[in-house]
């Protein structure tokens, strides 16, 4: 069983609000592995990163540190894709 994890800083001006969160869960949903997410800045989580409501409930604001953990098939690819999304959205 592949397990991967990553820590990211959210750069988006309004944090991970509805629109970027929708893109985030759509990408997460493309991968077969289980993906969980924690907001290290406020202690919320871990939550299912494939659920839009769970992600929004983490209250991820600009500058927040988040911890992503993927377990199962394509775990590395999933986290890479999510990291790229965060970077592109921020860019």
């Amino acid at each position: 069983m592949t397990v991967a994890s990553i820590e990211l800083t959210i750069q988006q001006p309004f944090g991970l609000h509805a629109r970027p969160a929708a893109k985030f869960v759509k990408i997460a949903g493309h991968y077969p592995c289980a993906i969980t997410m924690r907001n290290l800045s406020n202690g919320k989580g871990p939550s299912n990163a494939k659920s839009i409501v769970s992600v929004l409930a983490l209250g991820i604001e600009q500058g927040a540190r988040v911890f992503l953990r993927a377990e199962g098939e394509q775990a590395d690819e999933a986290l890479l894709a999510l990291q790229q999304l965060i970077d592109v959205e921020a860019g």
């Binding site: 509805a18 929708a22 949903g29 919320k44 494939k50 659920s51 839009i52 409501v53 769970s54 409930a57």
Partner: protein
């Protein structure tokens, strides 16, 4: 030359009569019903479409929804060919109404009320607008009437003074007014305000508890005197009482829903969960009250409050119909509410809701006889919208193609703003007296 087709089902129920007609053909020309005649009288040369062991009836109408663009396939697949949207983004719903009028395959025909006109603070963002005083309510009603909404919807945080201003201004513009009322508004108030319709049995306090028949009748006397229409949406109260009911997870109709809505529904017990026993206690009282209203002749519409939890668009109309029958209301009367009566309430009398000459060719064909067994309404065989058969498999494919997309429309965004704010564990249910 417009195409003509004769639809021949074992039974045709016209949306009004006590019984179905046998041996009857419905002839369509273009998007209208050209004739309803004995099947032997169908002229030669017309394409015939037979539906053995089926009942043909008017397309169903859901008179209480908050529409999302992703719901079109489900509504059509369930045989719901018209909806009344009772609170949405104003620009969005007006544009959506036009799109559906231009392309009926997108989804049901839409009658719209524009925004939820609310008091302060407004409960919903994106689909509601906050008003601090009566004058601002009047301004919004004027704006909405000017923009061309069909009816006006007033919401729960408005004061009596604001409600009164809203009703008055709407009536000045010839607009029908419905309201989801806050606590403290009584049936007397409903009548004094001049409301045309109330939603969810709000304003009907005697129906919410184990009242005596005399107390119910006293309230009903007032509603009858004021000619107030009721749109009970029993099914939403039932669902709010059963937010954590495990059985819903196995409802195969959920395949019509985007994943975002299944997530919202899963999370929803955190929003209202502590009140679920309150609703469970109230529902039997509401059912008794509704039956009494029916027996006394109150005009009953039918709606669902889709997309609140466990209300699959379109299919939840079948659920509401079954709840009416569970109250003791005869199936034919429940079906009248969802067809001809709803058509009148939403201002489409003479155009939809009946199988009769000159009416629009929106219709539903189900296996079995829903006038005998209301469950047959869910056995959808075919749906016709504006004279064309809907390809149900294509509609399911359409729904599934957008299942992973989070809709950016106002109702979805309103829910995504509000629902995740209630986090933490699902609260324990508190008994009704608390």
């Amino acid at each position: 030359m417009e195409s003509r087709v004769a639809l021949i089902a074992d039974r045709v129920w016209d949306g009004v009569a006590v019984q179905s007609r046998l041996g009857t053909a419905v002839i369509l020309r273009g998007n209208q019903i050209e004739a309803v005649c004995p099947m032997g009288d169908v002229p030669d040369g017309i394409t015939r479409q037979s539906y053995p062991n089926c009942t043909l009836l008017p397309g169903l109408i859901d008179a209480h929804v908050h529409y999302s663009g992703v719901f079109g396939p489900a509504f059509l697949a369930a045989g719901v060919t018209t909806v009344r949207d009772v609170g949405n983004g104003l620009d969005w719903i007006l544009e959506r109404r036009e799109r559906h009028a231009a392309d009926p395959s997108l989804g049901p025909d839409i009658v719209c009320c524009g925004l939820l006109i609310d008091g302060a603070p407004a409960f919903w963002q994106r689909i509601g607008r906050e008003h601090a005083d009566a004058d601002s309510v009047r301004r919004t009603v004027r704006e909405e009437a000017g923009r061309g909404v069909d009816q006006i919807k007033l919401y729960a945080a408005l004061s009596k003074e604001q409600l009164s201003a809203g009703v008055d201004e709407a009536h000045r513009h010839g607009k029908f007014v419905l309201a989801h009322l806050g606590s403290g508004i009584t049936a007397d108030d409903v009548v004094d305000l001049g409301l045309d319709e109330t939603e969810h049995l709000t304003g009907c306090e005697a129906a919410w508890r184990a009242s005596t028949t005399d107390a119910l009748d006293q309230m009903i006397d007032r509603l009858l005197a004021g000619r107030v229409i009721m749109n009970p949406t029993l099914v939403v109260w039932d669902r709010l009482g059963r937010l954590v009911d495990h059985a819903f997870n196995f409802d195969t109709r959920r395949r019509w829903m985007p994943q975002a809505y299944l997530d919202i529904w899963k999370w929803y017990p955190r929003v209202h969960g502590q009140r679920r026993l309150v609703y469970q206690t109230a529902v039997p009282c509401l059912k008794r009250g509704l039956l009494r209203m029916h027996e006394r002749g109150v005009r009953l519409g039918l709606g669902t409050d889709t997309p609140f939890p466990h209300l699959v668009p379109g299919f939840s109309v079948h659920d509401e119909l079954a709840m009416y029958v569970d109250c003791g209301i005869p199936p034919v009367d429940a079906l009248r509410s969802a067809t001809s009566i709803n058509a009148g309430i939403i201002g489409k009398s003479g155009r939809i809701g009946q199988i009769a000459v000159g009416f629009e060719a929106d219709m539903l064909i189900v296996q079995g006889d829903p006038l005998q067994d209301i469950d047959a309404i869910a056995n959808v065989h075919s749906v016709w919208r504006q004279g064309r058969a809907i390809d149900l498999a294509a509609q399911l494919a359409r729904a599934q193609a957008t299942a992973a997309t989070v809709p950016e429309d106002p109702i979805t965004q309103a829910l995504l703003i509000r629902v995740p704010k209630s986090d933490g564990p699902i609260p324990p249910a508190l008994p009704a007296e608390n």
